[in-house]
C-alpha cells in the first residue's frame, strides 16, 4: 500500500476484514443511498418491461385505438399519435425494446470483449495480441454512425438478420472498451502466483484463461456491461432517428423521431412521453452504474 492509499485509508480498513470483493461491494452498495434508489428505479423499469414481455400491458401499441392526435384523456393517458395509436401504450412497450437492445448489446459486447481481451492479455506480445489490438484500433477508427450504417446495409440483404443489424453494429463497436479493460487486467492477473501454480500443474492455457483468470475480472465486466447498456439505449435513439435502428417494433427513438416534426407544430405528447421515460431509465442506470463502480472498484475506496 503506497502513501497515497494509506492516506485515503488511514486506518487500514481495507485490510481489516478479509471479506470478498463481492460481499464488500454489496455492503458498500447497500449503504449508497443514491445507488439504492437508482437501482429501485431500474427495477421498476425491469418490471414494466417484464410486464410488456409477458403481455400484461401495452398490448395495444399497434392498434388504432383512437383518432388523430387526441389530447390526454382517461382513455389515452398520453393522448394518441397521428394515426390514432395510444402513446402511453407505445411508450410503455418501448421500455421492453430498450431492455432488449440494452441487454443483448451489453451482454454480448461484454462477453466478446472479455473473450478477446482475455486472449489478447494472456498472450500479450504475441501475434494474436497484435492482431486483436489491430482489430480494436481499426474498428475504433471508423466513425460510429458510418460503421453502423455500413453494417445495416451489408446485413439488409439477409432479411432474417437485418432486424438485428443495429444490435450487431453496436456489439461490434462496443466490445472494444471491455476488451481493452480486460486485456489490461489479465496482463496483471497472469503474473499472479495461482496462475503460475496452474501452469505448473499442467492446466491447459484456455482453461487457465477462462476458468482461472477471467472470473477475476467479473467486477470490471459487470460495471462495463452497465455502461454499455446505457450506451446502447442512447445509441438506439439516435440510430432509430437516422432510420438505422429498430425495425419491426416500437422504441423511444422512433417516437422521438416521429415527434421531431410534430414538436415544431406544437404537438409535444410523443416527444415528452418518450424523452421522459428514456431520461428516467438512462439517469437511473447511469447512477446505478456509478454506484456499482464505487462498490466494486477496489481503487475507489473513499471517493
Amino acid at each position: 500500500m503506497n502513501a497515497a492509499a494509506e492516506e485515503l485509508d488511514p486506518v487500514g480498513l481495507s485490510d481489516a476484514a478479509p471479506e470478498s470483493l463481492w460481499t464488500k461491494g454489496l455492503y458498500k452498495f447497500r449503504r449508497d443511498r443514491v445507488g439504492m434508489w437508482s437501482f429501485a428505479v431500474v427495477l421498476l423499469y425491469v418490471g414494466i418491461a417484464l410486464g410488456v414481455w409477458l403481455g400484461f400491458w401495452a398490448t395495444g401499441w399497434a392498434d388504432l385505438a383512437g383518432g388523430k392526435w387526441e389530447p390526454v384523456s382517461g382513455a389515452h393517458w398520453f393522448g394518441t399519435n397521428i394515426i390514432g395509436q395510444d402513446i402511453f401504450d407505445r411508450a410503455i412497450y418501448s421500455t421492453k425494446t430498450s431492455f432488449e437492445v440494452g441487454l443483448v448489446v451489453a451482454v454480448l459486447a461484454t462477453a466478446l470483449g472479455a473473450i478477446l481481451g482475455a486472449i489478447a492479455g494472456f498472450f500479450s506480445g504475441s501475434w494474436l495480441d497484435e492482431l486483436i489490438l489491430w482489430l480494436m484500433g481499426v474498428l475504433d477508427s471508423i466513425p460510429f454512425l458510418l460503421f453502423v450504417a455500413a453494417i445495416a446495409y451489408t446485413l439488409q440483404s439477409i432479411p432474417e438478420i437485418s432486424k438485428y443489424s443495429m444490435h450487431i453494429a453496436m456489439i461490434v463497436t462496443f466490445w472494444i472498451t471491455a476488451g481493452r479493460l480486460v486485456r489490461g487486467e489479465v496482463i496483471k492477473l497472469k503474473e499472479m502466483e495461482y496462475v503460475d501454480a496452474a501452469h505448473a500443474l499442467g492446466v491447459p492455457e484456455y482453461t487457465i484463461i477462462f476458468r482461472h483468470i477471467l472470473p477475476n475480472t467479473a467486477h470490471i465486466l459487470l460495471v462495463q456491461a452497465t455502461i454499455t447498456f446505457v450506451a446502447a439505449i442512447k445509441s438506439e435513439v439516435i440510430l432509430s432517428f437516422l432510420g438505422l435502428g429498430v425495425k419491426d417494433s416500437m422504441s423511444w427513438g422512433l417516437m422521438i423521431s416521429e415527434s421531431s416534426q410534430e414538436v415544431l407544430a406544437g404537438f409535444f405528447n410523443n416527444f415528452l412521453a418518450a424523452s421522459v421515460l428514456l431520461f428516467g431509465l438512462v439517469m437511473a442506470f447511469n447512477l446505478f452504474s456509478d454506484a456499482l463502480q464505487d462498490a466494486l472498484d477496489p481503487r475507489t475506496v473513499a471517493d
Binding site: A3, V138, P143, I151, Y153, F241, S260, F271, L278, N286
Partner: protein, 317 residues
Amino acid sequence: MELFSYSLRKLATGIPLIIGVTLVSFLLMVYFGPDKTFELVGKNPTQEQIDEIRAQLGYDQPMVVRYLDYLREIVTLDFGNSESTGERINALLARTIPVSIAVALPGFILGNLLGVGLGLLAAFYRGRWPDKMIMGSAAIGMSISFLIVIIAFQIILSSSYGLNLFPVRGWSVDSFGDYVSYVTVPTLATVFVALGYNTRFYRSVIVEETTRDHVRTARAFGVPSLQLYCKLILKNCLIPIITRIMFSIPFVVISGSLLIESYFGIPGIGKVTYDAIITGDQPILKAVVALTAIMLVVVQLLTDIMYRWVDPRVSLK
C-alpha cells in the same frame, strides 16, 4: 532530426491501421454497400440500361481491382467525383470541411474548456456541495439523449413556441453576425451534451491527480490552492486531457457532427456524409473513412509529440 525520423517511423506503423480501416470499410461500405445503380436508372429502365449504369459505376469490376483502386485513390488523395452530383470529391471536401469546423469548433472548445473548469471546481470542492451540484448536473446532462437536447433547444431557442431568437435551421453565413446566429443553437446543444461527459472525465482525472504524493508535498510547502490546481495539478493532467481532445479531432473535422448537421441542415461534411449514406454515394464515403483514418494516424503522432512537450518523462522511442 530525431523528431523527423520518429515521425516517419510512427507514420509507417500507422499503415496497418489505414489498411485495416480501409479494408473493413471497403468491404462494408463499398463492396457489400449501398447500390447506387437503382438511384440512377430512371423511372422505366430496361435491363440493358441497368447494366450500363453498373458498368459506369464500376460495380462490374472484381473486388480486388476495386480495392486496389481505392488504395490508389488514397495514395494520390484523389477520390474522383461524387456519384450524385458529379462534384470533385476534393472540391466537396474543401467546401464542406471548413463549414463543419466552423460549426463544431466553438462547441468543441467551449465544451472542453468548461469541462476542465468545472472538473477543477468539482475536484477542488470534492465531496462538498459544489462538487455534488456539478456532478449531479453532469449525470443529468449525460442522461439526456443528444436528440432530445437538439429538439428541445430548437423549440426553446428557435421556434415560435419559445424565444424565437435564432434561425430554425440552415447555414447562410455572409457575416460574423450571421455566423453567430446560425452557430449558437448547435453550439449550445453540443456543449450541453458534451459537458456532462467532459466534466466527469476531467474531474476524475484531476481527482486522481490530487491523490498523488506530489500534491501533498505541494500543500505541505504552502502552495496556494489556485496555483496548486490550475498549474501544478493541471499540468500533470495534460496527458489524459490532450489524449481526449486530440483523438476527438479527426471525428470532429472529418465526420463532422452528423446529427447536428443533418438536423440543422448545415452543409458540412457530416451532412454530406449522411446524404452519401442515404444515396449510396460511395466515393464520398470512401474519402471520409480514409481521411478519418489518416487523420487518426497523424493525430497519434502529434499527440506523442505533445506528450513529450508536456511531460519530461516521455521520450520518443
